[in-house]
Symmetry: C2
Subunit: 339 residues, 2 copies
Amino acid sequence: MADKRIMLAHGDGGALTHRLVQELFLRHFPHPTLHGLTDGALLPQPNGPMVMSTDSFVVNPIFFPGGDIGKLAVAGTVNDVAVSGARPLYLSVGFILEEGLLINELDQVVHSLAQAAEAAGVAVVAGDTKVVEKGHGDGIYINSTGIGVLPVGRDFGYHRIAPGDVILINGFVGDHGLAILSKRAGLTFDTPVQSDCAPLNGLIETLLERVPEATSAVKFMRDPTRGGVATTLKEIALSTGRDIYLDESSLPLREEVQGAAELLGLDPLYLANEGKVLVVVSPEAAEAVLAIMGEHPLGRDGAIIGRVSEGTGQVYLRTPLGGHRILDMLAGDPLPRIC
Amino acid sequence: MADKRIMLAHGDGGALTHRLVQELFLRHFPHPTLHGLTDGALLPQPNGPMVMSTDSFVVNPIFFPGGDIGKLAVAGTVNDVAVSGARPLYLSVGFILEEGLLINELDQVVHSLAQAAEAAGVAVVAGDTKVVEKGHGDGIYINSTGIGVLPVGRDFGYHRIAPGDVILINGFVGDHGLAILSKRAGLTFDTPVQSDCAPLNGLIETLLERVPEATSAVKFMRDPTRGGVATTLKEIALSTGRDIYLDESSLPLREEVQGAAELLGLDPLYLANEGKVLVVVSPEAAEAVLAIMGEHPLGRDGAIIGRVSEGTGQVYLRTPLGGHRILDMLAGDPLPRIC
């Protein structure tokens, strides 16, 4: 099967589609509702309000240092559900395959997707596969849609952000974007930069369960993916009408990412992250959140990086020399297909 | 805006993405959770078990007689949820756009998607947009994922199908597939064949609410999309281990579809439908179901087309001359990108 390729007939809903589902997809996904091969997955009544989130993944290349499009499809959607404060439970996955794709590569991606889902504790319960002609896709595109349940008392959102609140991040910025872009540019490093791609629901649950009075101390969470930390902070500033001061010297940034970003003419603040969360907390709770974050494997390099103040929706970067630079949303040179 | 086109930067998560969401998508979708622009849609706790279904749409061409990819993305997923017996409530939509797409065309598709969702009574609550380089997509691909709630007492599935059960369909077969393929082949007809693309949740709710003791009389429903009526029946036969006898002379088939299918060398039994449902019912209930179906605008041309018997998983087509032909799943010449 190693050199077999996806054909158009794998997507026509007939005998070959049936075989692909039976022999490849079902092998990786254990959830019984999938094996029923009905049109919809039957799921028990959730015990609270739900959060639903969707994301399509078109990352190029499909395989990159630190992950692949399958792992990314789990991390991206699980994180979108988790930053709402909900516990992600179920995922659907929709594949758009390009004719000629090696079935072996598809198998690797599905394997990695299934492993990431298992590690995150979410069940893949529904799926779909389409095939497009060679030259109308690019190997594999994946949509993943997630459902989570919001535990009682959790209410995070722009409306809770107030002047004085403190902004934390759980580690180094720009790793994912840089891993993708440097692989595309053919750059090699002594210490290769790995994507940070990871489901964050475990870290987030740890914070919300262990921080004293977390439901009032934690105000808002968001994963700074496309557009990077700068764009996400600008969205927060615009949506709240507050200003945000970001402290450049406290921003966790790997030396090799900084170096490579300079080489490529990129600003790490605008590079995508796929395993990072910005957490806005009340000032009294900041140190406690940071300490608990630091005990989790995905939060070891966490830091307090900024503060919210009264204002007009601006984001200011405080440079080490004491100056200020205004940060806007990503604009200009596009960074296409980063996720 | 009429001649403006999608650029890569519309997908980079920065300023242009933000504008596209604000100026195009939010204009069409009223649900307040979307306007919050958070990463996940907050939805109330459903009052029963849920059904989740996902489908990606890559139909070519995007606009076709009787619909477009936007309407199709609603119909396809709503129908997958509804045939499970659930009431579809929420949809997420993920767009993969090709660089160079006319924004005007995107606007038409989103308009049509929003209209179809409103007509079907489902709320679009979450969305995502990605852009791929020219030559790595084909205008617009859409993933839609649906959530519905299963009312108490409804339990439809392969396990309920028994010998003697009767198979109904709510109207003409093959219209969608033929509308797409004849448009692609550049065929024109005196009476153009329109896609049957329509959300069926209204029809299905009517049956389940008006047929006496519907929850026991109705055994199983499935929408015969990709692969057509023949492939869907074969899947039912294989999954139940029963035989199915399909009666060719009672199959609703438009003369123009039959004619065009012959011209194109296609069998209407293998052509996709996007507004049809196969309903397996107990023999006593068949006439009552047919009568109530016939009163609904989407069931006027409904018919009893076959019967389940003991067997080994075969599907037999009884021809008007009294012969039998074995029907298998669609195989051989693929019918690509039909939905």
